[in-house]
Symmetry: C2
Subunit: 495 residues, 2 copies
């Protein structure tokens, strides 16, 4: 700060002013507080190592395996043919005359193009998203929820679910000091939430998932967290990620009911991050949408609890992260606030139209009587079956390693195992968080990039990492073996 | 506010609480202050009328012509073949074996795919954008600026220029009360700026363009504005739109030099919105990039003035708005701030990859020795020639109407004519801003959707509207005639 004041003094007195207009001291302090571990220091270092390898620097490995992020295609998963055929047709409609494309892909492309300005995906769409796509999303939700109605006017397409989540949080934040909006997030959490809250200068209220009970959510813990928070802020929002990221748990119907009851009692807006809704692997586990449970609880709840649910084209079987497609459905939102939401999203004009088109195909996939159906189902099933296999494999292998404990990966695409670190390693880490020290050493020695548990939050004194289960099965086995060996070596080195 | 307090009291005392968690009184007050006229009330009404027409409601017209927004494809402009061929190849690489596609389009697609994770545009890219595309952008800038060097590390790809502009403003905003960051914007302005400043609770500092001198920028006016603003905030940023939106002027080299000198003297960060850099029509006018002028002014300026320049795939000859592609180049930015910027953009993971691919083609178009060159140049030239013709036509026709005065459309895609409104009309408008009253009446009677000048800002007591010049020539003539007739009728009605 001092330096900056000095420069201002110099400027005011006509002295040469050498300070930057924009520097670390005078930039937006909220932005400085933002942290996003999934692409943090460790990923920067991984990219550097990649470059060093390309420049011929010798390492104990030949490639960096980036298991830090849920990026299916980067891990070798092939795009679903039907989705890409329709996208190509939308991009270059001359192909509509080409015999190579099945009729249903052409019919889908024509329908999307007809809904675009000038029949081009290069036109802006309406800010809320193309109307016929919002209708398809609503029908998809109705089908998913066994007929509970969904209104296309409550659907907002977005630039990935991240965009919708940040927009929703932005609407909700107000107040100063003790009146500042508090937002309840799980620990461990997906760091988009903590980053957005730092950016918005909202108060983050942590509630802890129970690692000993497979990362389940306990209402007593929610009550503890909200009661403590009321001393210093105004809790207004509860965020739930189900299936869990980074923790991979799938919530029971009972638990969802309890959360809804809690949200109503405590007068909280409910944000349900359900981007992994098609990624459920464990036997006996099933995805229950918050909306469906809300409506099945009867009008006392279904007409009062305010809620937003988020979905994305980046996960599930398609893994189309690069297209940045997604949507949110808002329920029981004050119509005046909805008008404000619509106004707010209009400033950015519209979500990317190719991502909207892709979303349309995801919510409206080939039907059994259509020519693309068999291939589509085969590809879809193969991806989901492989994920299920890899989820089981991951849990199984990690749990054979002394000092690693791993809950079942019931859903989503990550494992978040707990690692026991020797005291000497904790001492040795010095400035660094111990699990960052661990992950950095793993990266340098084995070329495997994970995210330290501290980037997601964890109970004090415990250490974890997040790893995606996305690498192809053989490569995943290799990665699991390498991490296991490293863990044993690390433990010995610091014992 | 009272109602909200009452609900809180009820909740605290266990009384039934019927208030919404989120309502107009307790939502983010900054969001409430956001306004975005380009998609405001008049566009909502236009969409309604569209629906009414489809439902068979009789109107004095058969379609609504949306001249409110620079949306080229929606106005019938055809996509450029080369761009769409490469995008289709990227979306569905099986087409790389297809003879229908020229070799250079395949070569471009292969290069982009090789730079993508898993060779798929469905993978996340690095948050700053794909490296080889940033290299192409840097080379494009170097060519544009006759060899002045550009560093790919200073290029940030974005979800359209809007995204980059908001991100840059967000970095710059800090302080409370009289220390709050002030941002100088032109009046008339593109309302993304006022909207972003409201959202960030920054102070908007208006400087007025000189309508009598073809919307030129006068340094004395900049000095007046910044001096007045220093009484109540901390001016740190000046935003310039060149070529101008909504005003269509193209700045002279001299003017740009003056602005740069002013920014240095006043210790301001310079934001140059140059998304219309290829849209220059008037004889004697030429686009001069701020960066080039900065560097030609010598090291006293080129090593000190901090700057960001913005570009987009949505305008120029391609008009690919739906893809949300764009970039910014930052110059002389503090390396620590750059690291913060990189961190901030990483929270949203990456800009849409199809938009990045499109940007790559725009900055690296077919070369004279490549098979797509002739067709590409023919299409590009046709679009730009038609725009130049329509720019002339618009000025010419409007200036024949008593009560409409129109500066030449030197560049960009809009005209912002001044309209004289009879006092009776101003009185009649009552609650409404008079130019909104005028535009609404035009919409209801003629089915033409314009944006009232008040949405962009204008000197008190003057009235304008913004209209794009994008409709096809014959339709544009029709629109110009309809507006002219309406203006005369409106003037008579209220005289």
């Amino acid at each position: 700060m001092c330096l900056n004041l000095l420069f201002r003094f110099q400027a005011a007195n006509g002295l040469p002013c050498r300070g930057k207009v924009l520097n670390l001291d005078n930039m937006n302090p909220n932005v400085r507080r933002v942290e996003y571990a999934v692409r943090g220091a460790i990923v920067q270092r991984a990219l550097q190592i990649d470059k060093e390898l390309k420049e011929g620097v010798k390492k104990p490995f030949t490639e960096v395996i980036k298991a830090n992020i849920g990026d299916a295609h980067a891990m070798g998963q092939k795009p679903i043919t039907f989705l890409r055929q329709v996208l190509a047709l939308c991009a270059y409609p001359d192909l509509l005359d080409d015999n190579k494309f099945p009729d249903d892909s052409k019919q889908r492309a024509r329908r999307i193009l007809e809904a675009c300005g000038g029949h081009s995906i290069g036109a802006y769409s309406s800010s809320q998203g193309i109307e016929c796509i919002r209708q398809d999303v609503a029908r998809y939700i109705e089908k998913r929820d066994d007929g509970i109605s969904s209104d296309p006017d409550n659907i907002y397409l977005a630039t990935g679910a991240s965009d919708a989540i940040v927009t929703m949080l932005k609407l909700l934040v107000c107040g100063k000091g003790r009146d500042r909006t508090g937002v309840m997030i799980s620990i461990p959490q997906y760091p988009l939430y903590s980053a957005a809250l730092a950016d918005l200068a909202a108060v983050q209220i942590n509630y802890y998932l129970d690692e000993d009970k497979c990362w389940s959510l306990d209402i007593a813990e929610l009550k503890r967290a909200v009661t403590a928070a009321r001393q210093h802020c105004n809790p207004r929002v509860i965020c739930i990620i189900n299936p869990g990221n980074p923790t991979g748990q799938v919530q029971s119907r009972q638990c969802i009911e309890d959360v809804i009851r809690f949200a109503k009692e405590e007068h909280l807006f409910l944000m349900a991050d359900e981007v992994y809704q098609d990624n459920v692997y464990a036997e006996g586990c099933k995805f229950h949408s918050f909306k469906r449970v809300l409506f099945e609880m009867g009008p006392e709840y279904s007409t009062t609890v305010e809620m937003a649910s988020f979905h994305s084209t980046s996960k599930c079987y398609m893994g189309e992260c690069g297209f940045r497609g997604g949507y949110m459905e808002v329920i029981n939102m004050d119509p005046e606030v909805k008008a404000q939401l619509t106004k707010l999203v209009s400033v950015r004009l519209c979500p990317p139209v190719p991502g909207q088109a892709l979303l349309d195909l995801v919510v409206n996939p080939p039907q059994p009587d259509e020519p693309s159906y068999d291939k589509f189902m085969k590809e879809r099933t193969a991806v989901l079956a492989a994920l299920a296999e890899k989820a089981g494999l991951t849990e199984q292998i990690f749990n054979t390693v002394p000092g690693i404990t791993c809950n079942p990966v019931q859903g989503a695409m990550y494992t978040f195992p707990r690692i026991t670190l020797p005291q000497k390693a904790i001492d040795k880490a010095e400035g660094q968080v111990p699990d960052m020290f661990y992950c950095m050493k793993l990266l340098e020695e084995e070329g495997i990039c994970l995210v330290p548990g501290s980037g997601f939050g964890q109970r004090e004194g415990t250490f974890h990492f997040r790893m995606t289960i996305l690498p192809p099965t053989e490569k995943l086995k290799f990665v699991l073996q390498k991490i296991s060996d490293f863990h044993i070596r690390f433990t010995q080195e610091f014992s």
